[in-house]
Symmetry: C7
């Protein structure tokens, strides 16, 4: 508030001098940081890569650590930069943070979200809930992890979109890259068909796959009659595949099963409807 | 804020020395923890297994206890580590936690979520709401429990996904692994059929199952006419099976009932519709 | 924080001695509680059963009281145990609870949920909103009450699932076991039929049930034309039955009514549609 | 915390004496309250009934007042009982309530819900939003009011379920028992029919009802063409009836109108569809 | 807490005397208020009516003011009554309100809702968002305003239900009684018809209405082709009517337009479907 | 609380005198404000209109400013009035606002909503998010802005309803009156038709419009095949029009395109279905 | 509150003088700011453009920086203006902000939202989550970024609407302009067709596109059988395109594939249904 203390009698020369001094200091600061920042980043990147080669840390974990450390380093640099800048223009950061007036209160509330982000991010990292390149669902977003930062997590969606999620929004994480995945197919046959015959035909397809397809880890097996639908009897087939191969396996199984049922003359029915004609009375 | 007290006249040698001393201390600390941690984990694991063999504690409970204790041990190690680390670089943790400024407030709010996690987790464990390998529904996630930690519960979903759920998100737990489960089938017969005959046919299938299938614990029985549908009369069959066998029993019952109805010549109808043709007037 | 006061010069022998002393104390405590707890539970159970036999308290209420008292006893034992344990390892519980620093604040917020649980549980019990074996809906869960604790209520769902509900989640309770229940059937007849005749046929079925079925407490009666549907005229039948028998009565009524309408030659119509053929123009 | 002050040297005789003295006191207290409570309730019930007969207060209001006063009396008794009990076992209630430590804070938050209940309940009563036997919708529950307490409102649902609603959950009350209710029927006629003729037929039915049915307070009248549906022209009929008779009147009107339209040869149409056959090309 | 200070040695005579004295005072108070209240209400009602006749204030505003003032007067009377009553039985209201213990905190939180009600109610009144007899939508309720109180707003729903809405629940008000209302009709013609001809026919109906119907304020006009539906071309007609007459005008327009289209031989089509018969292969 | 200090010995004459004095003061105040208020409003209105004519401020902005300033003036007048009134009857506003007791707390919470309204309103105005006569969507309401006040925004809905929205409810504003608007039409052609021919026909219509219709600002152009529907191939047409003309342009385009496709003999298909007759077996 | 200290004896001349002095000062202030503001904005705009030309900063980033800096400059100007204005009329801003009474509390809560806006906006900018001209989804709004301010983000929706989003509402950002985008087409073929042949036909179309279309970055490829639909076998085609070209590519692919399937005689089927005629019994 200093600037307005004596109303309109502001001394122009003094202000100009002040502006120049401060401006020069800021310039120096900018240059210093512009030099230090990239060097720091490279040093971190190099160090982490060297260590992980030595200790054979798996690659996704290395990537996660690298990006996180650089992310952390950037925030610290920024924080130091802002503190130095504010002190240069004469705003001491300490009292501001300690002050308990309205400004302090408002900042405290604003910072609360930031602290939530960091605390959540910290536990996501420490409990290794996600690694870079994992396919996860979090906070209603679906995608492959590009970076796990202290404040924000970045997911690359299936359609190419990049999602930025503040960590505080992440209440639960579903990680789709931790172990074998389920392949499941529900296939309908006509009510006229022999169920046992159809099961046998489908099971033969399953056994073929189990024998010849390296992506398959368990099963697949025909479980039995899942539903008595309105026009078909639905049979369920279930297996396990290596991670991220479940969709491919399901697509291949669907094609093979359709062809096997065709070959065995077993009908996959269209929707059915029974028609009763009523001639006399067209009125309700 | 010490580092910036005297602006740009920072003594490089002093900083270097400081960095080296601190660096060495951190290294020693890292090594110490890298040695103690795995030993501690093994000791805990061994002790729990020995005790549970002695006292014949059921296996799921042993697993739950083992994972929880290791989880707890890890958090304590981490906490001790962070405290020692912070003291080495000259940040005393005590005053920081006690301080009531903005930073303290923000940390307090952030920690609130953590305390909620721990309190909820504590009661989930002490009231034995879940054990490892139970099939549960919690916080909108469905799956088999892999670990119940103080802060996070891990569920393995049916499709292979691993769900990480912060305990505070768990408002109610539905445990599907506590006792016999219901097998229920709704089967539709045509409006033309004799209801009593159909009930008798289905009850015969039920009695066969009750007599010959070890998975069945109660019933199954035909309860009667559940709905008068738009095209069929829906009969309900209800029984109880051993835990996790309900789906298999339902599938087997469905197949047997469909075949029994076919054998008895009782129709499971397709959707029906009555058609009235109106020739004269094609206009509304 | 005592342990880290003098950095790395920790005296190993002292620590070992300390660990042994504390360990022994904890062991004694564990044994003491392992003996007292089951005795206490049996004593409580016995006392309550004796009293309720004397004073002819209905069985569900006795069960509720018994489980609640044991539940309460367990929590008090646990609380005493934790307090003694903490004092043994040198953490006085009093100051911790009274302290108003960040830790205190965080604990206070965490405890808030617990207090909500207890307050709600207390009123559920004192207002007798539920008894053990009641069929209730609460917090979106449906089931038969297995236990009403101070903190948690347990419901056994219809499909066999056991639901654990923290009492604070229970905002309103729907108790389905307090008095006679409604049996209601909506049955559709064709637009061609005589409404009065159909009502008479259905009322005759109702009167038969009212005369011969002990489960029925009021009615059932045919109320009249509930809806003029798109293909049928819907008649509503309403009655009251003894508690939990409503579904059985509805099923039996449905069967009897269907058969009575068949016998009287009154049609229950399939969906109808009027078809108008338009030959000339196949284009929109 | 007194009990654990001197660790394991607890004097058994002292504890036994203490337990007996306290036990006797509690017994006396229990007996005293078991005598006073029912007497108080009867006195209240009698007094209110006498007064309301004198001053000709309508019956629902009398019921509401009676149940509320008894409810209030019970809570006061309970409060006095708990205070006396706590003082007997040496826990003074005053300091506990005044204390501002964590326990106090937690209790304060827990009590907040209770105060909300009472404040809301107080205004529901004083603004006479509901009386016992009113049919109301509140907090998503539907039913007839059985009791309006300070903390909880009890509704008897249409299906016989008893709903317990904490007053704080009641954000708005819809009282269906305050004045005449609407009877509304939407009836569809065929597009071929003459609208004016149909309106005349329906209005004649309405006039019959208005003249002969005591339940009817206003109308009913045919308002006109409410919708041009996909298969029918929907006419709306609207009237007012005495409270709770609206459904009966609607059912009777529906029957009478259907029969009147039949008699006048006006069609209530089934869903219509125009079919265009296309022979040459079965492919999309 | 005074009553229980000396345990069981309560002096019965003293209590009796006290009860009689207090009882008499309360009786006097009750009588005083029973006399003052109705007089006050009448005085207020008379005064407001006289003033509004003088100053020609529109009737709805007068009603609003009258009901509000009486409502306000009742609350003040009640407040005075409660304060006097509490002081009679020895509970001073001042310290209770000022006290900052748990009780005070709880009351403060409870009162918060009440203050919200009053603040919102105050602005609804001062900004004249609603008047008595306005048709409004607020807080999810629909109806005609019966009373706007400081705490509660009463709406009479279309079906006769009386809705009590605490003002705090009202986040936005939609007032349907402020100015002319829209009449809008979407009418479908067959794809075979000439659009321009149909528009001309409908516009002629509109012009007739505009010329002869006093309820119409703007238009109505045919805007053009609103949608190309699956079976019909939808034309939109739009106009403005005097308030609350929009439904009547819409109904009359619908009838007139249907008859005009019939007269001009323009088809309002039923849903259409093209059928392609496929004979050879009944299998999917 | 002064009034009740000495119980029932209230001096009637003193009260009467007091009432008369205060009454007179209030009357004077009322008259003063009744004179000042309209003069102030006219002065403001005149001043703003004069300035905006001088500086050629666009009309909507002028209207916004005028209504806002009057709105602001009214609130200030009201505030001054209330303060003076309270001081007349002896309630000093200063201490009341500064007091930190329960009343103060409650008022503070109540006022919080008001402050939120004003802060949000302030930014809506200063960022010029809306002007009077803009068509906007905010807080779930749709309409033309009638007034933007500090506390409330008024929208006139399309159906004539006047919406009052407290500014705090406005979380995001969608302003439909800032720039040209999109006209988009999806039109389906039969699977048998030649896509390129249809695109050419539609593009010719678009070019006609682009050449001859002044409302059009960009395009319209046929983009291509948007969907392969179940019965038709959907082509999308996209253009830009002057603000608020988008619906008119869309309606005119729809009509022109339908007629152009008719002229070119390209079919807009009804829903299609392939029928397979199955004679032998009427059973599922 | 000064103005009302001595009731009605306000000295008119003094007020007039005061008003004139203050008025003049405000006028001077207004003029000063009216001159400084546009100059400042131009200077900023010029400086940023010069720097970014020098350092070859990409254009969207330049635009973002320019608009942000001007936005920031405007807010600072405004803040300075308000502070000076308030001091002129004698309201010191410092004490007001520091005051902890009710007004202070209310302002603090109100300001909380503003701080949230700024904190969130700050991180959106610093983490470069969006740039001007990016196509993003945030807070439920969809559109192209027009400006990212400290408090508000402006999106231009696809239909031309301008969305103003307070930054605090933005919980997660989906940026659709960061990298190549997915083109995905699901196309159904008849159950009679040979799957492998159809895949070959579609893959040939894909290869053509991959070879000749510059917009395509990866694929497109036919993945296989995605679903066995009720009337068709759905094949999925997947590829990557340059950003914002995905819709164009999808439209072109759809047309080419439809034509290729036509050329190869492979049917894209309409919905199928199997009809079973039942003659004897028209009753349910």
């Amino acid at each position: 508030m200093n600037l307005f203390e004596d109303g309109f009698q502001i001394n122009l020369t003094e202000i100009t001098e002040l502006l120049i001094t401060v401006g020069l200091k800021i310039l120096l600061l900018l240059i210093a940081f512009a030099i230090i920042a990239p060097i720091g980043r490279k040093a971190i990147s190099g160090a982490i890569n060297r260590i992980s080669r030595h200790r054979k840390i798996p690659e996704p974990r290395t990537k996660t650590l690298e990006r996180l450390t650089i992310n952390l380093f950037s925030y610290i640099m920024m924080f130091v930069f802002v503190v130095m800048l504010l002190e240069m223009v004469g705003i001491p950061i300490g009292p501001l943070l300690a002050g308990a007036g309205i400004v302090g209160l408002a900042i405290g509330f604003g910072a609360q979200g930031l602290v939530s982000d960091i605390v959540t991010g910290f536990f996501i990292l420490i409990e290794r809930q996600v690694d870079v390149d994992d396919y996860v669902t979090a906070a209603g977003y679906d995608g492959v992890v590009e970076e796990v930062g202290l404040r924000t997590t970045k997911l690359r969606g299936f359609d190419g979109t990049l999602h930025y999620i503040p960590n505080r929004e992440i209440s639960g994480v579903s990680n789709h890259s931790r172990g074998n995945m389920r392949a499941m197919i529900d296939i309908g046959i006509a009510y006229d068909e022999n169920i046992e015959e159809a099961v046998a035909v489908l099971q033969r397809v399953c056994d073929d796959f189990a024998a010849n397809d390296e992506r398959i880890k368990e099963g697949p097996d025909v479980l039995g009659v899942q539903t008595l639908g309105s026009s078909d009897i639905v049979l369920r087939v279930l297996g396990k595949t290596t991670n991220m191969e479940q969709w491919g396996v399901e697509r291949d199984l669907r094609k093979a099963m359709k062809e096997a049922l065709d070959a065995a003359g077993i009908e996959i029915p269209f929707p059915h409807q029974v028609y009763i004609e009523k001639q006399g009375n067209a009125e309700a």
